[in-house]
Amino acid sequence: MDTDELIAALAADDVPAKRPRLLWRIAFGVAVSIVLMLVFWGMRPGWPDVLLMAPLLVKQSLPILVALAAWPLLRRSDPDSQAPLWPLWLLAAGSAAGWILSALSGGDILGKTLLPCLLSIPALALPIALALFVGMRHRVEPRPARSGMLAGLFAGGAAAAVYAVHCDEDSAAFFLLWYGLAIALCGAVGRAAGRRWLTV
Protein backbone atom coordinates (compact mmCIF):
# COMPACT_ATOMS: atom_id res chain seq x y z
CA MET A 1 0.00 0.00 0.00
CA ASP A 2 1.52 3.33 -0.92
CA THR A 3 1.25 6.55 0.99
CA ASP A 4 -1.48 8.08 -1.18
CA GLU A 5 -3.69 5.04 -0.62
CA LEU A 6 -3.08 5.26 3.10
CA ILE A 7 -4.11 8.92 3.08
CA ALA A 8 -7.31 8.00 1.22
CA ALA A 9 -8.12 5.40 3.88
CA LEU A 10 -7.38 7.83 6.69
CA ALA A 11 -9.51 10.56 5.15
CA ALA A 12 -12.39 8.11 4.75
CA ASP A 13 -12.42 7.55 8.50
CA ASP A 14 -14.70 10.28 9.80
CA VAL A 15 -15.14 9.05 13.33
CA PRO A 16 -14.44 12.30 15.19
CA ALA A 17 -11.02 12.62 16.77
CA LYS A 18 -10.90 11.82 20.47
CA ARG A 19 -9.56 14.56 22.68
CA PRO A 20 -7.40 13.71 25.71
CA ARG A 21 -9.53 15.78 28.16
CA LEU A 22 -7.33 14.79 31.06
CA LEU A 23 -9.02 17.10 33.56
CA TRP A 24 -12.48 15.64 32.98
CA ARG A 25 -11.22 12.11 33.08
CA ILE A 26 -9.35 12.73 36.30
CA ALA A 27 -12.40 14.33 37.88
CA PHE A 28 -14.37 11.24 36.94
CA GLY A 29 -11.70 8.87 38.27
CA VAL A 30 -11.40 10.73 41.56
CA ALA A 31 -15.17 10.75 41.96
CA VAL A 32 -15.29 6.98 41.43
CA SER A 33 -12.48 6.54 43.92
CA ILE A 34 -14.24 8.68 46.55
CA VAL A 35 -17.50 6.78 46.12
CA LEU A 36 -15.68 3.44 46.41
CA MET A 37 -13.97 4.64 49.57
CA LEU A 38 -17.24 5.82 51.14
CA VAL A 39 -19.07 2.62 50.24
CA PHE A 40 -16.46 -0.06 50.95
CA TRP A 41 -14.06 1.59 53.39
CA GLY A 42 -16.20 4.17 55.13
CA MET A 43 -15.30 7.56 56.51
CA ARG A 44 -13.44 7.48 59.83
CA PRO A 45 -15.69 8.55 62.72
CA GLY A 46 -15.61 12.28 63.25
CA TRP A 47 -13.45 12.96 60.18
CA PRO A 48 -14.58 16.59 59.70
CA ASP A 49 -13.86 17.39 63.35
CA VAL A 50 -10.28 16.15 63.37
CA LEU A 51 -9.54 17.44 59.90
CA LEU A 52 -7.89 20.60 61.13
CA MET A 53 -5.64 18.90 63.65
CA ALA A 54 -2.00 18.78 62.73
CA PRO A 55 -1.41 15.09 61.92
CA LEU A 56 -4.51 14.65 59.84
CA LEU A 57 -3.96 17.92 58.06
CA VAL A 58 -0.51 16.74 57.01
CA LYS A 59 -1.82 13.31 56.11
CA GLN A 60 -4.52 14.81 53.93
CA SER A 61 -2.51 17.50 52.25
CA LEU A 62 0.84 15.81 51.55
CA PRO A 63 -0.59 13.32 49.03
CA ILE A 64 -2.52 16.13 47.42
CA LEU A 65 0.77 17.98 47.09
CA VAL A 66 2.28 14.93 45.38
CA ALA A 67 -0.59 14.91 42.91
CA LEU A 68 -0.28 18.66 42.37
CA ALA A 69 3.46 18.29 41.76
CA ALA A 70 2.88 15.57 39.17
CA TRP A 71 0.10 17.48 37.45
CA PRO A 72 2.06 20.17 35.57
CA LEU A 73 4.29 17.40 34.25
CA LEU A 74 1.30 15.57 32.85
CA ARG A 75 -0.41 18.60 31.43
CA ARG A 76 1.46 20.05 28.51
CA SER A 77 0.39 21.31 25.15
CA ASP A 78 3.68 20.55 23.40
CA PRO A 79 4.47 16.82 23.37
CA ASP A 80 8.22 17.34 23.66
CA SER A 81 8.27 19.83 26.51
CA GLN A 82 9.99 18.66 29.67
CA ALA A 83 9.14 19.98 33.09
CA PRO A 84 11.66 19.46 35.89
CA LEU A 85 11.04 16.68 38.40
CA TRP A 86 12.48 18.52 41.40
CA PRO A 87 9.14 19.32 43.15
CA LEU A 88 8.56 15.59 43.48
CA TRP A 89 12.07 14.97 44.81
CA LEU A 90 11.61 17.85 47.23
CA LEU A 91 8.42 16.30 48.57
CA ALA A 92 10.05 12.89 48.86
CA ALA A 93 13.05 14.35 50.69
CA GLY A 94 10.83 16.38 53.02
CA SER A 95 8.69 13.36 53.85
CA ALA A 96 11.78 11.22 54.46
CA ALA A 97 13.20 13.83 56.83
CA GLY A 98 9.86 14.10 58.63
CA TRP A 99 9.66 10.35 58.92
CA ILE A 100 13.15 10.04 60.44
CA LEU A 101 12.31 12.76 62.98
CA SER A 102 9.02 11.19 64.03
CA ALA A 103 10.45 7.67 64.09
CA LEU A 104 13.31 8.84 66.33
CA SER A 105 10.88 10.55 68.68
CA GLY A 106 9.13 7.22 69.19
CA GLY A 107 6.23 7.32 66.74
CA ASP A 108 4.38 4.11 66.00
CA ILE A 109 5.89 2.86 62.74
CA LEU A 110 4.00 -0.37 62.16
CA GLY A 111 0.55 0.71 63.29
CA LYS A 112 -2.36 -1.69 63.10
CA THR A 113 -3.46 -1.26 59.48
CA LEU A 114 -0.24 -1.63 57.55
CA LEU A 115 -1.45 -4.18 55.02
CA PRO A 116 -4.88 -2.58 54.40
CA CYS A 117 -3.10 0.71 53.83
CA LEU A 118 -0.62 -0.72 51.34
CA LEU A 119 -3.39 -2.50 49.44
CA SER A 120 -6.11 0.16 49.63
CA ILE A 121 -4.15 3.05 48.19
CA PRO A 122 -3.23 1.24 44.94
CA ALA A 123 -6.79 -0.11 44.75
CA LEU A 124 -8.26 3.38 45.06
CA ALA A 125 -5.64 4.67 42.60
CA LEU A 126 -6.80 2.24 39.95
CA PRO A 127 -9.91 4.15 38.75
CA ILE A 128 -7.94 7.40 38.61
CA ALA A 129 -5.03 5.82 36.77
CA LEU A 130 -7.32 4.06 34.30
CA ALA A 131 -9.11 7.31 33.49
CA LEU A 132 -5.78 9.09 33.04
CA PHE A 133 -4.34 6.38 30.81
CA VAL A 134 -7.40 6.35 28.56
CA GLY A 135 -6.90 10.08 28.04
CA MET A 136 -3.17 9.76 27.49
CA ARG A 137 -3.70 7.06 24.87
CA HIS A 138 -5.24 9.79 22.70
CA ARG A 139 -2.14 11.88 23.05
CA VAL A 140 1.38 11.81 21.66
CA GLU A 141 3.67 10.42 24.35
CA PRO A 142 7.32 10.62 23.32
CA ARG A 143 8.48 9.30 26.71
CA PRO A 144 5.97 6.58 27.63
CA ALA A 145 7.73 5.29 30.75
CA ARG A 146 8.15 8.73 32.26
CA SER A 147 4.59 9.79 31.48
CA GLY A 148 3.27 6.51 32.86
CA MET A 149 5.23 6.95 36.07
CA LEU A 150 3.92 10.48 36.53
CA ALA A 151 0.38 9.29 35.90
CA GLY A 152 0.91 6.56 38.49
CA LEU A 153 2.29 9.02 41.03
CA PHE A 154 -0.60 11.38 40.41
CA ALA A 155 -3.16 8.61 40.84
CA GLY A 156 -1.33 7.28 43.92
CA GLY A 157 -1.21 10.73 45.52
CA ALA A 158 -4.87 11.42 44.87
CA ALA A 159 -5.84 7.95 46.11
CA ALA A 160 -3.79 8.38 49.29
CA ALA A 161 -5.63 11.63 50.00
CA VAL A 162 -8.91 9.80 49.50
CA TYR A 163 -7.81 6.91 51.70
CA ALA A 164 -6.75 9.33 54.46
CA VAL A 165 -10.43 10.11 54.98
CA HIS A 166 -10.86 6.51 56.11
CA CYS A 167 -7.53 5.73 57.77
CA ASP A 168 -7.30 6.44 61.50
CA GLU A 169 -3.58 6.01 61.99
CA ASP A 170 -2.35 9.41 63.02
CA SER A 171 1.29 8.64 63.71
CA ALA A 172 3.50 10.50 61.24
CA ALA A 173 6.00 7.65 61.52
CA PHE A 174 3.30 5.39 60.12
CA PHE A 175 1.73 7.36 57.34
CA LEU A 176 4.80 9.11 55.96
CA LEU A 177 6.47 5.75 55.36
CA TRP A 178 3.61 3.56 54.22
CA TYR A 179 1.67 6.18 52.28
CA GLY A 180 4.92 7.14 50.62
CA LEU A 181 5.66 3.53 49.71
CA ALA A 182 2.14 2.98 48.40
CA ILE A 183 2.39 6.08 46.20
CA ALA A 184 5.83 5.01 44.97
CA LEU A 185 4.40 1.59 44.16
CA CYS A 186 1.69 3.25 42.07
CA GLY A 187 4.41 5.21 40.27
CA ALA A 188 6.36 2.02 39.52
CA VAL A 189 3.29 0.22 38.20
CA GLY A 190 2.42 3.31 36.15
CA ARG A 191 5.91 3.29 34.67
CA ALA A 192 5.56 -0.31 33.52
CA ALA A 193 2.05 0.34 32.23
CA GLY A 194 3.19 3.45 30.38
CA ARG A 195 5.95 1.57 28.63
CA ARG A 196 3.39 -1.00 27.59
CA TRP A 197 0.37 1.14 26.67
CA LEU A 198 1.44 4.68 25.81
CA THR A 199 2.87 5.49 22.40
CA VAL A 200 3.95 8.30 20.15
Binding site: T3, V15, A17, D78, V140, P142
Partner: protein, 173 residues
Amino acid sequence: MRKALEGDRRAYAACLQLLVPRMRAMASRDLPAQHAHLAEDVVQEALLSIHLKRGSWDPERPLLPWVRVIVKHKAIDALRKTPNAPHDPVEDHVGLDAPAVDPLAGLHIEQALARLSARDAALVREHAIGGADPETLSKDFDLSPGALRVALHRALRRLAEAARKEEEWTPMS
Protein backbone atom coordinates in the same frame (compact mmCIF):
# COMPACT_ATOMS: atom_id res chain seq x y z
CA MET B 1 -5.94 20.66 9.69
CA ARG B 2 -8.18 23.03 11.60
CA LYS B 3 -10.89 22.50 9.00
CA ALA B 4 -10.21 18.78 9.11
CA LEU B 5 -10.89 18.67 12.83
CA GLU B 6 -14.25 20.25 12.13
CA GLY B 7 -15.01 17.33 9.86
CA ASP B 8 -14.01 18.58 6.40
CA ARG B 9 -12.72 15.38 4.83
CA ARG B 10 -11.40 16.91 1.65
CA ALA B 11 -9.42 19.50 3.59
CA TYR B 12 -8.05 16.69 5.70
CA ALA B 13 -6.82 14.66 2.74
CA ALA B 14 -5.30 17.81 1.20
CA CYS B 15 -3.60 18.63 4.47
CA LEU B 16 -2.07 15.16 4.74
CA GLN B 17 -0.95 15.35 1.11
CA LEU B 18 0.79 18.64 1.89
CA LEU B 19 2.40 17.24 4.99
CA VAL B 20 3.81 14.11 3.36
CA PRO B 21 6.72 15.71 1.43
CA ARG B 22 7.79 17.62 4.50
CA MET B 23 7.51 14.49 6.61
CA ARG B 24 9.66 12.64 4.07
CA ALA B 25 12.28 15.34 4.41
CA MET B 26 12.13 15.14 8.19
CA ALA B 27 12.35 11.35 8.15
CA SER B 28 15.34 11.22 5.82
CA ARG B 29 17.08 13.80 7.98
CA ASP B 30 16.48 11.66 11.07
CA LEU B 31 17.59 8.38 9.54
CA PRO B 32 21.26 7.66 8.93
CA ALA B 33 22.15 7.12 5.29
CA GLN B 34 22.30 3.33 5.45
CA HIS B 35 18.73 3.23 6.76
CA ALA B 36 17.32 5.76 4.31
CA HIS B 37 15.04 3.05 2.91
CA LEU B 38 12.99 3.19 6.12
CA ALA B 39 11.85 6.74 5.42
CA GLU B 40 8.59 5.84 3.72
CA ASP B 41 7.67 3.39 6.50
CA VAL B 42 8.32 6.10 9.05
CA VAL B 43 6.12 8.54 7.13
CA GLN B 44 3.29 6.02 6.94
CA GLU B 45 3.47 5.13 10.61
CA ALA B 46 3.57 8.80 11.50
CA LEU B 47 0.51 9.40 9.32
CA LEU B 48 -1.40 6.73 11.23
CA SER B 49 -0.34 8.30 14.51
CA ILE B 50 -1.29 11.81 13.34
CA HIS B 51 -4.66 10.47 12.31
CA LEU B 52 -5.44 8.68 15.56
CA LYS B 53 -4.10 11.42 17.83
CA ARG B 54 -5.10 14.52 15.90
CA GLY B 55 -7.53 15.33 18.71
CA SER B 56 -4.61 16.08 21.00
CA TRP B 57 -3.10 18.71 18.70
CA ASP B 58 -3.83 22.14 20.08
CA PRO B 59 -5.22 24.21 17.16
CA GLU B 60 -3.82 27.34 18.79
CA ARG B 61 -0.31 26.07 18.13
CA PRO B 62 1.55 25.53 14.88
CA LEU B 63 1.05 22.10 13.33
CA LEU B 64 4.51 21.35 11.98
CA PRO B 65 6.39 21.17 15.30
CA TRP B 66 3.80 18.69 16.50
CA VAL B 67 4.24 16.60 13.35
CA ARG B 68 8.01 16.93 13.75
CA VAL B 69 7.88 15.32 17.20
CA ILE B 70 5.86 12.39 15.89
CA VAL B 71 8.13 11.79 12.89
CA LYS B 72 11.24 12.05 15.03
CA HIS B 73 10.05 9.44 17.49
CA LYS B 74 8.71 7.15 14.78
CA ALA B 75 12.15 7.32 13.17
CA ILE B 76 13.79 6.44 16.49
CA ASP B 77 11.41 3.50 16.88
CA ALA B 78 12.10 2.31 13.35
CA LEU B 79 15.84 2.38 13.97
CA ARG B 80 15.45 0.55 17.25
CA LYS B 81 13.48 -2.20 15.54
CA THR B 82 15.95 -2.61 12.69
CA PRO B 83 18.81 -5.00 13.30
CA ASN B 84 22.09 -3.28 12.79
CA ALA B 85 22.91 -5.15 9.61
CA PRO B 86 24.41 -2.88 6.98
CA HIS B 87 22.04 -2.12 4.20
CA ASP B 88 23.57 -2.59 0.79
CA PRO B 89 21.79 -0.18 -1.50
CA VAL B 90 21.06 -1.73 -4.84
CA GLU B 91 21.86 1.62 -6.43
CA ASP B 92 25.55 1.06 -5.72
CA HIS B 93 25.79 -1.96 -7.97
CA VAL B 94 26.79 -1.08 -11.49
CA GLY B 95 24.68 -2.59 -14.15
CA LEU B 96 21.55 -2.52 -12.06
CA ASP B 97 19.29 0.38 -12.75
CA ALA B 98 17.98 1.86 -9.58
CA PRO B 99 14.22 1.56 -9.74
CA ALA B 100 12.51 4.92 -9.98
CA VAL B 101 9.92 3.81 -7.48
CA ASP B 102 11.20 1.96 -4.46
CA PRO B 103 9.54 -1.46 -4.65
CA LEU B 104 9.97 -1.85 -0.92
CA ALA B 105 8.04 1.32 -0.11
CA GLY B 106 4.93 0.37 1.78
CA LEU B 107 6.19 -3.12 2.57
CA HIS B 108 6.08 -2.38 6.27
CA ILE B 109 2.47 -1.34 6.15
CA GLU B 110 1.66 -4.38 3.99
CA GLN B 111 3.12 -6.57 6.71
CA ALA B 112 1.03 -4.77 9.29
CA LEU B 113 -2.07 -5.22 7.13
CA ALA B 114 -1.28 -8.92 6.82
CA ARG B 115 -1.44 -9.18 10.59
CA LEU B 116 -4.98 -7.78 10.75
CA SER B 117 -8.04 -9.93 10.34
CA ALA B 118 -9.05 -10.46 6.72
CA ARG B 119 -12.11 -8.26 7.14
CA ASP B 120 -10.17 -5.37 8.70
CA ALA B 121 -7.53 -5.52 6.01
CA ALA B 122 -10.13 -5.60 3.26
CA LEU B 123 -11.92 -2.62 4.80
CA VAL B 124 -8.74 -0.54 4.83
CA ARG B 125 -7.83 -1.57 1.29
CA GLU B 126 -11.26 -0.79 -0.11
CA HIS B 127 -11.12 2.70 1.34
CA ALA B 128 -7.52 3.13 0.26
CA ILE B 129 -8.30 2.47 -3.37
CA GLY B 130 -10.96 5.12 -3.04
CA GLY B 131 -13.87 5.77 -5.27
CA ALA B 132 -15.76 2.95 -3.64
CA ASP B 133 -18.95 4.56 -2.45
CA PRO B 134 -20.23 3.88 1.05
CA GLU B 135 -23.43 2.30 -0.29
CA THR B 136 -21.78 -0.62 -2.07
CA LEU B 137 -19.23 -0.99 0.71
CA SER B 138 -21.84 -1.32 3.39
CA LYS B 139 -23.57 -3.93 1.23
CA ASP B 140 -20.30 -5.78 0.59
CA PHE B 141 -19.37 -5.92 4.22
CA ASP B 142 -22.93 -6.40 5.41
CA LEU B 143 -22.72 -3.41 7.73
CA SER B 144 -24.94 -0.38 8.22
CA PRO B 145 -23.26 2.88 7.16
CA GLY B 146 -22.76 3.82 10.81
CA ALA B 147 -21.24 0.47 11.70
CA LEU B 148 -19.04 0.72 8.60
CA ARG B 149 -17.54 4.00 9.84
CA VAL B 150 -16.82 2.53 13.24
CA ALA B 151 -15.42 -0.65 11.70
CA LEU B 152 -13.03 1.37 9.54
CA HIS B 153 -11.92 3.42 12.52
CA ARG B 154 -11.23 0.31 14.58
CA ALA B 155 -9.39 -1.32 11.67
CA LEU B 156 -7.12 1.73 11.37
CA ARG B 157 -6.44 1.68 15.07
CA ARG B 158 -5.47 -1.98 14.90
CA LEU B 159 -3.33 -1.23 11.88
CA ALA B 160 -1.39 1.41 13.81
CA GLU B 161 -0.97 -1.04 16.65
CA ALA B 162 0.26 -3.77 14.31
CA ALA B 163 2.69 -1.42 12.58
CA ARG B 164 4.14 -0.46 15.93
CA LYS B 165 4.63 -3.99 17.22
CA GLU B 166 8.20 -5.15 17.21
CA GLU B 167 7.88 -8.75 16.19
CA GLU B 168 8.68 -9.42 12.60
CA TRP B 169 5.88 -10.73 10.50
CA THR B 170 6.61 -14.20 9.25
CA PRO B 171 4.49 -15.60 6.48
CA MET B 172 2.66 -18.80 7.26
CA SER B 173 4.25 -21.57 5.23
